[in-house]
């Protein structure tokens, strides 16, 4: 079954505002990653947070992880038109063979209006 559910499915904000996207998952994980996908392109890795971490920053990105609630959030501060894209959370966990299996969420489509 699908691991990550993202909320909202779509978000439209004005340039300069902050954008917050949430991800919930169902089973235990080793890490959680956020990826970005521009229209018609492949996914680009943004940030990884480990299961023993609660918060991580990278430039204008802030990620939080609450393993007790099985949820994560991605905050993009001072958004720009170029941030317009779909954002996916991806949970990493070992499969029965001991290898990492990454399961992607449904994605949040962000539109930043200039």
């Amino acid at each position: 079954s699908q691991q990550g559910e993202e909320d909202p499915q779509a978000l439209s904000i004005q340039e300069g505002e902050n954008a917050t996207m949430n991800c919930s998952y169902k089973t235990s994980i080793n890490n959680l990653q956020w990826y970005r996908q521009n229209s018609g392109r492949g996914l680009v890795h943004l940030i990884l947070i480990r299961s023993n971490e609660r918060e991580k920053h990278s430039g204008r990105l802030r990620v939080t992880l609450d393993t007790s609630k099985k949820s994560s959030s991605l905050l993009i501060t001072a958004s720009r038109a170029a941030d317009t894209a779909s954002y996916f959370c991806a949970t990493g966990a070992r499969n029965s063979g001991g290898y990492q299996k990454v399961t992607f969420g449904t994605g949040t489509k962000l539109q930043v209006i200039p």
Binding site: N31, G40, G42, L43, R94, Y99, Q100, F104, T106, G107
Partner: protein, 114 residues
């Protein structure tokens, strides 16, 4: 230079045909993946190879056969194409198959089965 490349970028074909998609990475990674992204943007792992060995094989019809001639290449052959195979197929690679490995994605191959 493109890190993960896929060919072709677009593929339009008739139902029942057999087709192949090729993937190459020049990052020196030892693990490669195939994902399928459907029309609702849901991204699902299909296969993963580590050092040419199959390590993840999700519930995929056996019409899909991956082949890894070496660590830098992972090709996907699809027999007897069906309408439901229409999707975007992404190749990805990572260094190692552990739970903290970042995956690098190709630009995708848009397959349309008529």
């Amino acid at each position: 230079d493109t890190a993960v490349s896929q060919t072709p970028k677009y593929l339009v074909t008739q139902m029942g045909n057999d087709k192949s998609i090729k993937c190459e990475q020049n990052l020196g990674h030892d693990t490669m993946y195939w994902y399928k992204q459907d029309s609702k943007k849901f991204l699902k792992i299909m296969f993963s190879y580590n050092n040419k060995e199959l390590i993840i094989n999700e519930t995929v019809p056996n019409r899909f056969s991956p082949k890894s001639p070496d660590k830098a290449h992972l090709n996907l052959h699809i027999n007897s194409l069906e309408l439901g195979d229409s999707a975007v197929y992404f190749c990805a690679s990572s260094q190692g198959s552990g739970v903290r490995e970042t995956q690098y994605f190709g630009p995708g191959t848009r397959l349309l089965v008529l």
